[in-house]
């Protein structure tokens, strides 16, 4: 009887120990599961991020006008709202011949070299020369450029043109130096210089 009680007590203690063991087992299992769950979350996120980054870079490379990764800060600070075009589109616009290239740099720089067929309208002389440009352009699309590392004159001119009501104004992101460095058509001289009194 007493032995039976002892056995029973022993049995229940063993069962209690077993319950305790089985109660602690899920906790350690949950800990492992949560660790593996967090690892899986990070792995999934990294996989998706790598997939997205690859797709983004491939899509950019496949564009006719890929966004360069070495854009100068002055061009990224563009506030005119004019759309920037890069080499692919600029060359296409040039070949189509319907877009007028407008040089926003100072006259001296224009005389030394400019995109073949471009007109000179320094950003600082906008008020003086805009009417002359209108007579030349007659509402045709305008592509404004300055220099690659100093795109501010182009941005300023684009802003003034948009404010004046021109609807199709774009900015050449590479600037004149980028254009010339690629061996695209350039010329020098006075052809294309706008004069304020020319049509009076």
């Amino acid at each position: 009887m007493a032995g039976g009680e002892r056995e029973g007590a022993h049995g229940s203690a063993a069962a209690g120990g077993s319950r305790a063991a089985s109660a602690s087992a899920p906790r350690s299992g949950t800990g492992r599961a949560s660790r593996s769950g967090a690892g899986r979350l990070i792995l999934e996120a990294l996989l998706l991020a790598a997939l997205g980054a690859g797709a983004g870079l491939a899509r950019n490379a496949a564009r006719t006008d890929p966004l360069p990764f070495d854009l100068p800060a002055s061009l990224l600070a563009a506030e005119s709202g004019a759309r920037a075009v890069f080499f692919g589109e600029a060359v296409r616009l040039y070949d189509e011949g319907e877009t007028i290239f407008v040089d926003a740099r100072e006259t001296d720089a224009f005389l030394a070299g400019h995109v073949s067929g471009a007109l000179s309208l320094p950003a600082g002389r906008f008020d003086e020369l805009y009417e002359s440009l209108q007579l030349w352009s007659g509402g045709q699309p305008l592509l404004v450029y300055a220099n690659r590392d100093n795109a501010l004159p182009a941005d300023e001119l684009a802003r003034r043109l948009l404010e004046a009501g021109e609807e199709k104004v774009t900015v050449l992101a590479s600037g004149f130096d980028g254009w010339a460095a690629r061996g695209l058509p350039v010329e020098s001289g006075e052809d294309g210089i706008l004069e304020s009194e020319e049509f009076d």
């Binding site: 063993a14 069962a15 077993s18 089985s22 087992a25 899920p26 299992g29 949950t30 599961a33 949560s34 769950g37 899986r40 979350l41 990070i42 792995l43 999934e44 996120a45 990294l46 996989l47 998706l48 991020a49 997939l51 997205g52 980054a53 797709a55 983004g56 870079l57 899509r59 950019n60 966004l67 360069p68 990764f69 070495d70 854009l71 100068p72 800060a73 990224l76 600070a77 563009a78 759309r83 920037a84 992101a173």
Partner: protein, 187 residues
């Protein structure tokens, strides 16, 4: 600046309280169909918002690069790379979240991006940088406290499905362990 900092702190406290109420108090009670519906509503909302945002950014990467640069947080090269990569990552994560394939990873990515946007927006407000947010590409609304509040809401939208999923997995493990056969020694 002091007023802006106080408003930002108040918004953060409000978001923390809402997050605690939603994720800690309410989520454990959202069992069964209600929890599933709410999780899917959050996932689809977040996916729709990010797909719309990515569409605007993918259409004009240059405009998005200008927007990123305007925050004055990263150098120009980073702005350009981010403008190319970020909308694509958003698209992939949003599709994952809506489709169910690797959706947890999608929720983590979108939640992480929202946290980054939150930091960018907050520092712009504190530094007094008056710019468009660039959230949906060109012509987005200006940076404001409303955008901060919206961002917090979307972060909760990313966290809720993850929290519910974790709770559901925990319950399933508990049920399984409760039905484990006893050890032979106990019989």
């Amino acid at each position: 600046m002091l007023v802006s900092a106080l408003i930002l702190a108040a918004l953060s406290a409000l978001a923390a309280a809402a997050g605690h109420a939603l994720l800690v108090r309410l989520a454990p009670r959202l069992t069964g169909r209600m929890g599933t519906v709410l999780a899917w509503a959050c996932r689809l909302t977040l996916a729709a918002v990010f797909l719309a945002a990515a569409y605007g950014k993918l259409r004009d990467p240059y405009a998005f690069a200008v927007s990123i640069h305007a925050y004055r947080l990263v150098p120009p090269a980073w702005a350009s790379v981010s403008a190319v990569v970020m909308p694509a990552v958003e698209t992939v994560a949003a599709i994952a979240l809506a489709s169910g394939l690797l959706w947890r990873g999608g929720a983590v990515i979108l939640g992480g991006l929202l946290a980054v946007f939150l930091v960018a927006l907050s520092q712009a407000i504190l530094r007094g940088i008056d710019i468009d947010c660039g959230c949906f590409g060109k012509g987005s609304s200006p940076v404001s406290f409303w955008l901060i509040a919206r961002n917090y809401g979307l972060i909760l939208c990313a966290l809720l499905p993850l929290a519910l999923d974790r709770l559901r997995a925990g319950r399933e493990r508990a049920v399984l362990s409760a039905h484990e056969p006893l050890e032979p020694a106990d019989r």
